[in-house]
Symmetry: C2
Subunit: 278 residues, 2 copies
């Protein structure tokens, strides 16, 4: 991995790296915030998965998370949301399919199957890479994300019990099988057999018996994608209740889907992860 940018912030360093991804068969870019504590020893890591249209840039610039990460001594690992490049398939006229919309699955349908393997990238390849090259405590990690990235965080944790110390999400796509974004991407990447989609759907995973100690979700009540039915936290909540999966779903009055909503509550999420990590 190659360091291409380093900016000092809150006493630590916000770095950007590129590397060749074996999972995605292309050059990938990601950001890491190393808190000041990383200068003196290994630190735990919080992975952040971003939403549709994002790169690694949105969270590092807009969320205000570095302050809390510096306070708690936690590294932030911020991958891109899909493979990218001229050789990577895309649908330029759509923001919700192709580049910027990897949906954290391993695609099995052409033309997506060669590059769009973001599940393996986020869960396997990236942790191995950063733990081998950065001052991180091996295996001590948690995960969070927003919207499509909230979906990614939930499925990464539910599919890998014990691997993540804690999981949280902001306005996650809780049941992509029944939202337009999810249906569009799953059909393209996984094909028409919806039985295969269930392995990447947080609600279906909980219904099938997946279990983690606790899940924290914040959801704004003024979120336009909530009223559009893209997110479906109420369906996930019902599944968790049925399966006795502990869930703290906090409906935040008047907040929308933006990074201003994330900025408001990211400090509480990082403090919550810190209890499991530090």
């Amino acid at each position: 991995m190659k360091l291409i940018e380093s900016v000092k912030e809150f006493g630590g360093y916000l770095n950007r790296y590129t590397h060749y991804s074996v999972a995605c068969h292309c050059e990938m870019t990601f950001s890491v915030y190393l808190p000041p504590q990383a200068a003196h020893g290994n630190v735990p890591a919080l992975y952040w998965l971003s939403g549709l249209t994002c790169t690694d840039d949105n969270f590092r610039v807009k969320a205000g998370a570095q302050r809390y990460a510096a306070e708690q001594g936690i590294a932030l690992i911020i991958p891109d949301t899909s493979p990218r490049g001229d050789d990577v398939p895309d649908v330029p006229e759509r923001y919700d399919l192709g580049q910027g919309a990897g949906f954290y699955v391993n695609a099995i349908q052409p033309p997506w199957d060669k590059h769009f393997r973001m599940y393996d990238y986020v869960v396997e390849e990236l942790p191995h890479l950063v733990e081998a090259n950065l001052p991180l405590i091996p295996g001590v990690k948690s995960i969070s994300g927003h919207s499509m990235g909230g979906h990614g965080a939930l499925i990464a944790a539910l599919k890998n019990p014990g691997v993540y110390r804690s999981v949280s999400a902001f306005a996650p796509i809780c049941h992509p099988l029944n939202g337009e974004w999810g249906k569009g991407c799953f059909a393209a990447y996984l094909g028409e057999n919806t039985a295969l989609w269930e392995a990447y759907d947080a609600t279906c995973l909980v219904q099938a018996g997946a279990h983690v100690p606790e899940i924290l979700i914040d959801q704004g009540t003024a979120d336009e994608f909530l009223s559009e039915g893209q997110l479906l936290p109420e369906v996930f909540q019902a599944a968790c209740l049925q399966a006795e999966q502990p869930l703290s779903l906090r409906m935040q009055e008047g907040y929308d889907h933006s990074y201003h909503f994330i900025a408001t509550f990211i400090g509480e999420h990082i403090a919550w992860h810190a209890r499991a990590l530090v």
Copy 2:
């Protein structure tokens, strides 16, 4: 003034307004963060002046200031950096002259003199407008800014003793008469008579006897524009020492000119302004 956007953040509201500016002879856009305390009574205001190329958007998205403003009960008033629009002169190939580069002066040279009156806009028109229309305590205000906006904050305070309760700046252009950005804009907006430039130069103002109780400046040592000689804080510091103008110039080791630098120290600046405002 017309409200065009309102987003809930940290319990308050981040609003965006447009209005017709008498000073600038065009429609202007600005943002205001109203902290939760503004729902129950009038609050003091901190004006933030942004740097070259910025609009009102940069600070509201990147600085992480709303958290601290909410904690302290201070409104943030965030103007644009110049007049804009098809009728407003510009030099599209230059980022450091014309739209996005108003330099907080009242231009007297054509073609700039009709619209580029950002000094009057920021110091007179905007405070009258927001104090008449928003839950602000009339006359209780402070000012800060970054780079070109740090220059703007310094001259606004130095030219109007008693009007601002406190003034601070991040990496300000301290002596535009001797930096390339300053010379380019002052020549265009004010003409070749450099005696007229001195009225908008913080160092010259201090040398001429302008005085405020105290000035706080943070400056990153890894700031590329510091080494280029655009900012000249050492010249300002010498002038303040000579004139017995209290100045706290903090050279912050390893920080650059970006909003990551601002994010790191904006909490300390807002706490410092709060001591004068709240």
